[in-house]
Structure formats: C-alpha cells, structure tokens
C-alpha cells in the first residue's frame, strides 16, 4: 500500500501554516492578544467574513464569480437590523425570498449561458439600491437573539473561534462530504461529464447559488450581531475580501477546486493581517500600502511553502 497525501490535505497545510505564522507574529507584537478576550477581539469580525467567503466559494465551485457579495451582505444586514427585529416573520420571509432570488440567478445564468461576472455586477447595484431604500441613513438595531448569539461567552474558547470552527465543519460536510457538494464541484470540474451521467446541471447550479445565498444571509445576520446596527454600505469590501479569502485558502477560480476549511482559514488570515499592521504602527501615509504588502507577503509565503512541499514529494 503506497502512502499518498491527498491533494486536499496539501492544499490545506499551506494556508494553515501561513495563519499560524501570522498569529505567532501578532502574539509577539502584542502579547495581550494571547487571551480569551484578546482572541475574541482579534477574530470576531472574521466570522461574517468567513461565512461570506464560504458563499463566494460555492459560487466559484461552479466556475462562476459573485461580484455582488458585498452589497448583498449589506442588504441582508439592513433587513436583519430592521424587519428581522421589528417583524420577524416578514424579515424571515424576505431573507428566504432573497435566497430564492440567488437560486434564480443561478438558473438564469445557466439557461442563457451568461457571464456570472456581469450578472452579479448588475445585481450589486440592485442590492445596494434596495439597501438604500431600506435604510437611507444608517440605523436599525440587531435583533436581541442575534446580538446574544454573537456576544456569547462559551467556555474554553471564545465565540469567534468556536464559530469559525463550526462554520468550517459545516461547510466541509456540505461541500466535501455530501452528494450535492460532489456534484457541485463536479460541475466546476467537468460540466459535460456531469450532464452525461444524467444529472441536471441546471438544478445543481441553482443549488450552489441557493446555498451561497444561505451562507451570505448568515454572514449578514452575524455582521449585524457584531455591529449592532446596519447601513447600506456596511459590507461592500466583502466582495474582494471573500474572493481573496477563497484564493488564500487554496481555492482556484476555475475547475471546481475549492476547500471550505481553507476558505475559513483564508478569511481568518485576512482579518489577522489587518491587526498585524495595526500593531506595527506604520506611518498613516503607508498604512494602506502596507495592507497590500502584507497580502503579497502572505501569498509569497504560500509560494515558498509550496516550493518546499513540492520539493519533498518530487512532484
């Protein structure tokens, strides 16, 4: 029996190592972070990002890209801070409705063979418009149960860590272990062969988009739970963050090669990178540039580890 390290595991070690290194650097700069409260402060805003990253990953699994992720999460946050609190039933219906809209988008994109980039670009305007209509000025308030959930203090590990692990496990089960996940990734890998095996690629794509919608809705709700209130622009950066998170986690743009655990790690890494910079105290002129530099460094690390790794297995 030959011992083979599965490609998935290899794909994971690199982002995980990058995260560990960064975390070590942060602890070294700011030992206070090495505590229950410190870890929570470092990571709690990564929870919604991780959820959005999983959503983006599902879309990328079928070779599409969602440029509306940020404005969609903002819109959900607005709904959560208004309807979900004041009229839970209506709020729930709206959220269920937008998940269906996501599925329909998948269907339309498939049927008309449209580039997902353009459709989602268009949708980003639509979600932003709806959010502005809902909350012309920032406001609203998070439902109490959401707030309670996000500020919970579980024993042993802080909420941010517990939630991240839970998200990673859930997404792993859905995407890597379930039949639906296999078929979704199969569509990304070779659409024609999935079709030839008698599956409906249409239904699969709709499923992937619907699931992505669900995760994005969760991201919006989690975000409001942390910020306590919403505004129409609250999560715009999630579009690029979620894409970067998937890539950092070892995912690829095409070919259905994704890793849910990697995506969560990617989201955590991105969040941590921001803190790392804060602790470095760079001149304000270069703070923005340093964010770019840290992205480059993390990716360079990925390359370096890749090199070492491929040198070992001789591939």
């Amino acid at each position: 029996m030959r011992l083979t390290v599965s490609a998935d595991a290899v794909r994971l070690t690199i982002p995980a190592l990058a995260l560990t290194l960064l975390l070590a650097a942060v602890f070294w700069l700011q030992p206070r972070a090495m505590s229950y409260i410190g870890l929570n402060l470092l990571f709690n805003l990564a929870v919604p990002i991780a959820l959005a990253t999983i959503a983006q990953m599902l879309i990328m699994a079928v070779n599409d890209l969602d440029l509306s992720m940020g404005s969609f999460v903002s819109f959900v946050a607005c709904v959560a801070a208004t309807f979900l609190r004041d009229a839970p039933l209506v709020g729930t219906l709206i959220l269920a409705g937008v998940v269906i809209v996501y599925s329909v988008l998948g269907i339309v994109i498939h049927l008309r063979n449209l580039p997902s980039i353009v459709v989602s670009l268009g949708m980003s305007f639509v979600w932003a418009g709806l959010a502005v209509l809902l909350l012309p000025a920032p406001g609203g308030q998070a439902p109490d149960w959401v707030r309670a959930l996000m500020t919970m203090k579980p024993p042993i590990a802080p909420m941010a860590i517990v939630a991240s692990i839970a998200i990673a496990i859930l997404a792993h089960l859905i995407v890597m272990r379930s039949s639906l996940g296999v078929v979704i990734r199969g569509v990304g890998g070779n659409e024609r062969s999935v079709e030839r095996a008698g599956w409906s690629v249409l239904a699969t794509r709709a499923g992937a988009y619907g699931l992505a919608g669900i995760f994005a809705v969760l991201a919006g709700i989690a975000l409001v739970g942390l910020t306590t209130s919403a505004d129409a622009n609250i999560a715009l950066r999630y579009t690029l963050l979620s894409i970067a998170g998937v890539i950092l986690g070892g995912g690829e743009f095409i070919g259905g090669r994704v890793s849910p655990v990697g995506a969560v790690i990617g989201a955590l890494t991105l969040t941590l990178a921001g803190s790392f910079l804060s602790f470095l105290r760079i001149s304000p002129d270069w703070q923005i540039g340093a964010q770019g530099a840290i992205l480059i460094v993390v990716l360079a690390l990925r390359l370096l580890l890749n090199r070492i790794e491929s040198g070992e297995t001789g591939r």
Binding site: G122, G289, R302
Partner: protein, 316 residues
C-alpha cells in the same frame, strides 16, 4: 434582412441598441432640447471609461482570472504626480505626460512582476498593488488639488467641430487598439493565450512577454486616463479613480468581450461606456431617488446582457 441578422449576432450590437434607447428616453423629457448638450456630455465622460476600458479589455482577453484592479490607483497616482510636476506651467505639459506614462509602465511592470514571481492570481496581485500605489499617491501629494496648466485645462474641456477633444483622443486610441487586436501578431497572441495558455506556450508564443506587455499597456492607458481626467476636472483628487474600478470591468463585459478570455471587442467598449453614462443621466433626469436609481441601473445592465445572450456553445 440578412445584414440585420448578421448584425444581431455581433456581440457589441446590443450595447449600442441600449445606448440609443436610453439616449432617446432622456432627450424626450425635454422635448429634444437637450440633444446636443447630452450627446456632448456623454461623449466627454464616456471617453475616460473607454480609455481605461480598452486597457482592461486587453487584460481580460488574456483569459480567466486576468483583470487589473490597480486601474483606479494608477489613475490617481499618475494624475496627482503629473499635476504636481507641471505645477500650472504650460511649458511642463510634455514632461508631465511622460511622467504619467512612466508611472503606468512602472505599475504594469510591478503588477506582472508580482503575478509572475509569486504565481498569484492577477486579481489578488493587482489588488495588493493598488493599495501600494494608492499609498504612494497619498504620500506624494497628501490630497492637495493642484490646478492643471491652462492650455491643458482648456484643451481637455473644449471640443473640435463640436466633438469633445477627449472623445477624439479616445477614438484614436480605440483605432490603435482595434488595429493591434485584429491585424497584428500581438493581437493573435493575446487571443491565443486567453483561450489556452498551455496551448499558446506549445505553439511557440512568448507567453510571458506577451502578458507582460499587456499588463503594462493596461496600466499606461489607466495612467493616461488619469492624466486627462485630472486636467479635465481641474485637479487630481486621491479618490478620482475609484469609480473606474467596476466601470472598467463593466464596460468590457457589457461590450461583448468574452469574460473567459480570447475574444475582444473594441466597438462594444464605446457602446457600453456611453450606455453606462447615459443610464445614470436618464435616471437623474427622471428625478429618481438614489435607491431606485441604483436598482434600475442594475436591472438595465442585466437586461442588456440577457439580450446580448450568452456565448456560443463550444466556447468555455
């Protein structure tokens, strides 16, 4: 009839149809009185998206995952630095232009350097680069708005025979781009790379050289657009490029260029750029609130792409 049918299969035709519909819907409000003004304004402002969009189109043609997100910050840096250098002096116009172009070359060089050296997806590489370039812009002029030299301000804001000068520049650049794409080896090469990089490599195409030149070309066009825009709007601002991030991508894909690469389209960029400007003008004219306006913009974009339809089967 036959020509009509052939025309309807051109990927760029739909953006032009949309342009005429929206244009008509706008001028009808004032009973045609605004025709000339609106057309001139549309040509003027579309010119900037066209220049930026052409560069972006070349990059997108390189295949899936290729996109330049550093366009806005390149525009900003080129605008701020060149205006600072010219310092309202008509004699410095040429050095200013040269510096803007050099900035474009430098950014493109660094962009491709990152992509190649770190083997990271261009989308991430150029995003990281854009942060650094933005910082450089902040560092060089700290947000001060310096006026452009008088001649340039006059030139960019006026027209020749009723056609805005910036639109004429955009037209010249478009013709050049069209020639590059359709007639030259370089055009073939980027299209081949966009369809399949391994196949391009095996066919003996200098893949890295071609991609490198393309990224530089895109950054140079962005820098040029920044230079013109800063002169046009009477000074460079640190956030002046931010609009052009999504805009440059939108005009490329709305114009019928294949998102998956390998197939590009110059007339479509014109249609899409005019369209993006006119939609906002139309909705402003109808006096709709920001929310409705955004929703309508989104729905119109989706309708146009639905009409234009997907790509032919067989293409990825």
């Amino acid at each position: 009839m036959k020509t009509l049918e052939r025309l309807s299969r051109r990927p760029w035709i739909w953006s032009w149809v949309a342009v005429f519909l929206v244009w008509f819907a706008t001028i009808i409000v004032t009973g045609g009185a605004s025709t000339l003004g609106l057309t001139q304004a549309a040509l003027t402002f579309a010119a900037f998206s066209i220049i930026v969009g052409i560069g972006q189109m070349f990059v997108i043609t390189l295949g899936p995952g290729n996109v330049d997100l550093s366009v806005p910050s390149t525009m900003t840096l080129a605008g701020t630095v060149s205006l600072k250098l010219m310092d309202v002096d008509n004699g410095m116009i040429l050095p200013g232009l040269v510096v803007a172009v050099l900035i474009g070359v430098a950014v493109g060089l660094l962009n491709y350097g990152l992509i190649k050296a770190l083997r990271i997806p261009p989308i991430i590489a150029t995003l990281s680069m854009s942060f650094i370039v933005q910082s450089a812009a902040i560092w060089t002029n700290r947000g001060l708005r310096i006026k452009p030299p008088g001649f340039l301000a006059e030139f960019t804001t006026s027209g020749t025979l009723g056609v805005p000068n910036v639109a004429i520049i955009a037209l010249l650049i478009s013709l050049g781009a069209w020639f590059l794409l359709e007639r030259t080896i370089y055009g073939r090469w980027i299209s081949a790379i966009g369809q399949s990089m391994p196949a391009a490599r095996m066919a003996g195409i200098p893949v890295d050289g071609t991609r490198f030149v393309t990224y530089v070309f895109c950054a140079v066009l962005a820098a040029l657009a920044g230079y013109l825009l800063a002169c046009f709007s009477g000074g460079a601002a640190l956030n002046m490029g931010s609009e052009y991030l999504l805009m440059s991508i939108a005009v490329v894909v709305l114009g019928g260029t294949a998102v998956a690469g390998g197939d590009s389209n110059v007339p479509g960029i014109w249609g899409a750029s005019l369209f993006m400007y006119l939609v906002v003008s139309m909705l402003n004219t109808y006096g709709l609130g920001a929310g409705i306006r955004l929703i309508m913009t989104g729905l119109i974009i989706i309708s146009v792409i639905m009409l234009a339809g997907g790509r032919q089967p067989g293409a990825r």
